[in-house]
Point group: C2
Chain length 205, copies 2
Amino acid sequence: MTNPMDQLPARQQQALKTRQKLLQAGKEVFLENGFQKATISQVIKKAKTGYGTAYVYFKNKDELFITLMEDLMNLFYKVAEMPFMPQTKEEAYENIKKQVRMFLQLALDERDMMKIVKEAIGVSPEIDHKWYMIRERFIERILVDIRYAQAQKLAKERLNPALTARGWFYSNEMFMWELVMNKDKYKLDDVIVNLTSMYTGGLYE
Amino acid sequence: MTNPMDQLPARQQQALKTRQKLLQAGKEVFLENGFQKATISQVIKKAKTGYGTAYVYFKNKDELFITLMEDLMNLFYKVAEMPFMPQTKEEAYENIKKQVRMFLQLALDERDMMKIVKEAIGVSPEIDHKWYMIRERFIERILVDIRYAQAQKLAKERLNPALTARGWFYSNEMFMWELVMNKDKYKLDDVIVNLTSMYTGGLYE
DNA sequence: TGTTTGATTGACACTATGTCAATGATATAA
DNA sequence: TTATATCATTGACATAGTGTCAATCAAACA
């Protein structure tokens, strides 16, 4: 047994346990009620702690939710950091398609939580900022990829790489939300292929 | 004088005037404080009416804001309905560019209000739905255009027109918000050209 | 065992919402 | 002109949530 809690004095163990109880209860309350309708009162009730206790561990509802979000966000960061070094246009297409699939699939795997995240982004400036950071990290990464493709003479050099990277991420993000909110309206594969084809080849002959 | 109010009995005139006072005060309060921080109390104070009066004319803060939004939304509908019947790829490019410019310019002209709209979309499901309708109207219109271009053999027929229309609107919308929230970060013309070029021609050679 | 430290608590002050019975002003009918 | 009906207006009230803090309780330590 190497549970890190074993080494701590009983009092800190208790504190950690209380914190965990609040997080677990918080997750349940958020999933059941959505972000706006969830209240601290519901959380403490479910966690079976006193009212003030929640405020000892988290500044407010937003901070509690951000803590819950963090693991999820790290998964997104991982996808953003995927390597990209194609030698041909075809290889680029396959690579891009793969990354799009990973991004969308991750969002769908965490669908219930992502729905709450979307709601929370609109309501809480702190959470909005958190998502903004993820977005910029993706865009930064795409920018590197586009510059690489341009240097390799694979991609059109007259396009502004920064704007192109941003636009490309935006398309992905919006379809991601659409899939999360409205899972059965689209076939995932169709979305991936169309997105990637449009990006690499454009609409007109 | 053909002011429609002249023909109404004095009592209804008074009622309309009170409603107008509330709308005007509401607009000021929203612009000064943003959507979330604005309160009904601030509005009635500015409108110099009793507290309950606001609730006579509007169900709640959301409804009051939606009423304020409506004129703005009609301007967007106008842009969505622009005709599109190009004969050549070049003509299509110019047409599209023009519509993109009108869309982005409109949002920038109404920048202060659009900022509040963005905030309100995240907070209020009713307002979110209102924006959703505008979005779908644009996408519907783009879909017609794409089908037309495909029928004319200008656009690639293997692309899914519904998904392509959606993706294209999403890119426009996201850059619109980016410009509204962050006006000086980008040059409008660069955004328009890059957006349109990507859409019509894609990234890869 | 007594003392200190820090985790836990719920009562409290505060802010906002939406409702409603009472009030007041205008329209209508006698 | 006056009496009555109608409807706009009002603010006090019930309700619901937030965040704070002084008091309490239990573990750690000397």
